[in-house]
């Protein structure tokens, strides 16, 4: 299965990415699209902007590894992951995951799996700007807990190998 993985500064068009996945295919019965968006406040404080730093080279490799893990785990018919970096203003898209499958539960599970892993394993770091200060976003233990849902019964993290 050909997956699309892109890290880019530019905005993306979720609709055209989802349309590209489906085009000319009769076997797809379910498409799940997740869009992560820069909110206008963080813990109640109004946000001026968010800057995403990433580790070029490693970020692509980590995302690709997790897409491959998702493909081994669910019968997917298409996957697109786009992650932006650089400075984003409130309301702008940060990340897009699109999964396509014959059946909905595979598309949903793979999209959640990919998002949980992007949050905890892909080398991206968010810095948020308020009116008077900048601060690095702290990793949430709740995100680690979500990512652990996908650990295999024997304790292996499929994509870490």
């Amino acid at each position: 299965m050909a997956a699309t993985i892109r890290l880019q500064r530019e905005p993306f068009d979720a609709a055209s990415e989802a349309a590209k996945l489906r085009r000319g295919r009769g076997d797809i019965g379910a498409v799940v699209t997740f869009t992560g968006i820069c909110r206008s406040d963080e813990s109640g404080a109004p946000l001026a902007a968010m800057t995403l730093e990433h580790y070029p080279g490693m970020a692509e490799a980590e995302v690709a590894r997790h897409v491959e893990a998702a493909e081994r785990r669910w019968p997917l018919l298409g996957v697109t992951v786009i992650h932006r970096y650089g400075r984003l203003e409130p309301g702008e898209d940060i990340v897009l995951v699109v999964t396509a499958a014959a059946h909905r539960q595979d598309a949903f599970a793979a999209a959640e799996f990919l998002m949980d892993y992007l949050k905890t394993r892909a080398p991206f770091w968010k810095q948020v700007e308020y009116a008077d200060r900048k601060t690095w976003v702290e990793a949430k233990s709740s995100d680690d807990a979500l990512a652990e849902r996908w650990t295999l019964p024997d304790g292996r993290d499929e994509a870490a190998e």
Binding site: G57, T120, F124, W136
Partner: protein, 83 residues
């Protein structure tokens, strides 16, 4: 070998990357962090809580006990917050 720093590790150290040659006896990622933290105040600050620092060798996540022998690029960074 090349060292790379990201996010607040980069800010505290004051540079995104550098070339270093650690002395013999520095065998693991944890050893390297200890050695780096003695290089100056900025390093001591960056590595003051080594438990929260994550590392990658040649662009693959590793733990503190990973051997650094043969590594071309080692990166240090805080827990990731992408997505």
């Amino acid at each position: 070998m090349k060292l790379r720093y990201f996010a607040w590790v980069r800010e505290r150290i004051g540079k995104p990357e550098e070339e270093i040659e650690p002395p013999a006896g520095i065998a693991t990622v944890a050893d390297l962090m200890t050695w780096l933290s003695r290089r100056g105040e900025e390093y001591a600050h960056a590595f003051e809580n080594p438990k929260v620092i994550r590392a990658a060798i040649d662009r693959t996540h590793v733990r503190g006990d990973a051997a650094i022998f043969g590594a071309r690029e080692i990166a240090f960074f805080p827990p990731m917050t992408g997505g």
